[in-house]
């Protein structure tokens, strides 16, 4: 599975999303399950999937599907 597929899978699973929804970007609080608890759950799943540990500022800045792709680059994860 590619990094892109892994990344999308975490979003789909954590927020019960349809694949098509990700094409238009998804933002924090724009879908019912991406609330504060959903956010921390998603970060934990990404850390587990890519074997990284994210810094506090990056967790706060991780406010959309597209922004997350940029943030993961810092951890040498190319989506």
């Amino acid at each position: 599975m590619s990094n892109k597929e892994k990344y999308a899978k975490v979003f789909i699973k954590c927020f019960s999303l349809d694949k098509n929804k990700l094409k238009k970007d998804v933002k924090y609080n724009s879908v019912p399950k991406w609330d504060s608890v959903g956010h921390m759950n998603m970060i934990a799943k990404l850390e587990e999937e890519f074997k990284i540990s994210m810094e506090m500022d990056d967790i706060i800045d991780f406010s959309s599907f597209k922004t997350g792709i940029k943030i993961l680059k810092k951890y040498k994860i190319k989506i």
Binding site: K27, Y28, V37, H39, M40, I43, A44, I60, F62, S64
Partner: protein
């Protein structure tokens, strides 16, 4: 040496107060790992006359609260967290046995994961060695969790 907290000492780690303090004694704990103890239910509990008049028993919501308050102690005994307020996030609970006036509810809670203000844990309550209630719990210290949350989109 085994650590315990008597009814006064536990008030430092558990911010709930009468009539909503739902644990009496912490018999043992390891910060960040587990907390065990008990709650004695006497006829003087405020809810027994109304839940229910002819069959007094402990409301399920309060059994859940007993378990959540004990799990809280397992977290708030960690360095720097003394007395912090916790909130419930998600619980999956099962009630197995009615708890009556005179019963002693033995509480056993375990921390499965503690990270960035969120605790996943397990809790069980026993009366006379019988399982009375159990729960998979997610609680938070909002003061910590809020530091990690993005601002809402405009």
């Amino acid at each position: 040496m085994k650590k315990s907290l008597n009814s006064n000492e536990l008030l430092l780690y558990q911010p709930n107060r009468y009539p909503f303090l739902m644990i009496d004694y912490v018999t043992s704990y390891v910060p960040g790992k587990y907390a065990e103890g008990y709650k004695n239910f006497t006829n003087n509990e405020w809810f027994f006359p109304i839940h229910f008049k002819d069959n007094p028993n402990v409301p399920g919501a309060l059994q859940l609260e007993c378990m959540a308050q004990m799990l809280t102690v397992a977290i708030t005994t960690l360095p720097g967290l003394k007395g912090k307020i916790t909130h419930a996030l998600e619980h999956k609970v099962r009630f197995k046995k009615e708890i009556k006036p005179g019963d002693k509810l033995i509480l056993k809670t375990k921390v499965l994961n503690w990270k960035r203000g969120i605790c996943d844990g397990l809790a069980k309550g026993f009366v006379d060695e019988d399982l009375a209630c159990e729960a998979e719990m997610k609680i938070t210290i909002p003061e910590i969790l809020e530091k990690y949350i993005p601002s809402k989109p405009k």
